[in-house]
């Protein structure tokens, strides 16, 4: 009788587990293979053209020849400027929201505002940056206008991830710090932020990734004209790597050079991420 009953249960818990394993593994493998496919697709076409000269020489003949040195430098500076401006603003906002206010209408409003900002298409940020920084403030198409625009664009990401990271630090750590004679600020700086560092850094890295690969927002604010020398001032216009890629591919100037530019972009993001995580691991060794 009992064995009859059992035979009706086609899916045993064990088989259920096996099916779940297979499905989850397949989904993971699919995601990973898409990522690998994109990287291989780009790098395979771009890598042959990637030489030391390509990285260190100015472009020639509208991008058909030469390298990407001015774009590489311009991209790094615009991105760095955006991140350097957005990080203190975003982190400060996150600290205020988590440590210095109680949940209320104001915090909900700030959080809602940040979320709306995160959903705004980057081209709108570009337009905003163009109107405010390029025209009204008279910065022209410049690194400064581009960096500021990118800063506003990545601000919500940094606020959100920093807030999550700070919130996940156990309340007990704050109580311990206070009970050992720390002021509120000291407990935030010496205990909460070090514990939240990995999460905060993840937000910053996301911001770097978005900035470095951004096209629409920087075309409007940093410009797109082809320069033959690296920028020397914050008021110089730059064409970033992604804009350069866009122009090369869209104008049909050179597919080969476009893929090489894309390879430089992909590798740059990879190098920045790996470096950031290595530095973080060094820093975090003290807090284990």
């Amino acid at each position: 009788m009992l064995s009859d009953m059992a035979s009706f249960r086609v899916i045993t818990p064990r088989r259920e587990q096996a099916i779940a394993d297979v499905i989850l593994w397949t989904v993971m493998a699919f995601t990973l293979s898409m990522l690998l496919f994109i990287i291989v697709f780009v790098v395979q076409r771009g890598l042959p053209g990637l030489t030391w000269e390509y990285l260190t020489q100015a472009p020639a003949d509208g991008g058909r020849a030469g390298g990407v040195f001015p774009m590489l430098i311009g991209t790094l500076i615009v991105t760095a400027l955006g991140v350097v401006i957005a990080t203190p603003l975003g982190l400060g906002t996150a600290i205020y929201l988590t440590e210095y206010t109680r949940e209320g209408r104001l915090t909900r409003l700030i959080r809602f505002g940040a979320e709306c900002l995160a959903g705004v298409p980057s081209i709108i940020f570009g337009l905003f940056g163009f109107v405010l920084f390029v025209i009204a403030l008279g910065f022209g198409w410049s690194i400064l206008a581009g960096g500021l625009t990118l800063a506003f664009m990545i601000l919500p990401t940094i606020i959100r991830t920093s807030e999550e990271a700070i919130r996940s630090v156990p309340t007990a750590y704050r109580e311990v710090a206070l009970s050992l004679g720390a002021s509120k600020w000291q407990s935030v700086v010496r205990v909460v932020l070090p514990s939240a560092l990995p999460g905060i850094l993840t937000g910053i890295i996301l911001g770097v990734g978005r900035s470095i690969s951004e096209t629409a927002a920087v075309i409007f604010t940093a410009g797109s004209s082809l320069s033959h020398r690296a920028p020397t001032s914050l008021f110089d216009g730059v064409r970033t790597l992604s804009v350069h890629f866009y122009q090369l591919a869209r104008e049909g100037i050179s597919d080969q050079k476009a893929y090489t530019t894309a390879t430089v972009l992909v590798l740059a993001i990879l190098i920045i991420n790996v470096t950031a995580y290595v530095i973080m691991n060094r820093l975090m060794r003290r807090y284990r």
């Binding site: 109580e175 009970s179 050992l180 004679g181 003290r286």
Partner: protein, 257 residues
Amino acid sequence: MSAPSVLGPKVDLRDVSVRYGRDPVVRNITLSIPPHFIYAFIGPAGSGKTSLLRAMNLLSIEVDGAAVTGEIMLDGVDILGADVDRTVIRRKMGMVFATPQPLPRSIYENLVFGPRLAGVRKSDELDELVETSLQAAQLWDEVKDRLHSSALSLSGGQQQRLCIARTIALQPEVILLDEPCSGLDPISTLKIEEAMDSLRSRFTWIIVTNNTKQAARVSDRTAFLLLGDLIEDGPTDRVFTNPTDPRTSDYIEGRFG
């Protein structure tokens, strides 16, 4: 060394109430805690023991958003006063929490956290504080060879003694203990009780405990709280052998709570 001319109470609670929102969880408590005493608060869950303890180093106001009324006098000064520096009060009234809470850093860094904030900079002074505090908490022999390894690698009992040592390193006058042995094995509990006993000449201890036997073993005076009210307080021997209130004897004998 001259003896203090008047041996007043170390901590004096006058009409203290604690409330979160409207209803008080601690009501109009008045009692005195003499210096160099081990003073125990007992009572069932929800009796307000921990709220009262957290009011004494002002954590309940800053972290829990509680309103504390009345006067909490430390050496005759009301610490609820507006011009009081909370960080100074907390250095004088160290606190050990119910679950061991080492910070995620080395044993050494845990111990010097408080002293550094208090302005101790010289490394030989810090080294000495670390050693004497660990010895006082009966942990030195177990960790002296690995002061720079993570505090999180210690066992639960060692972590709690580390927290006691960390509080001692503040060189406080009063040490508040919030059910310090609730999650510990009997041997760790014994070591902590020995440490308290051997250090009563240096500190005034105020311990909240759910374990009435522990209160009977270690304390000089015991106060029994029930639902936010002080039912009685007195010398521990008397409270345990001859309580004046029937509710106290019911609780001690395990008839409720």
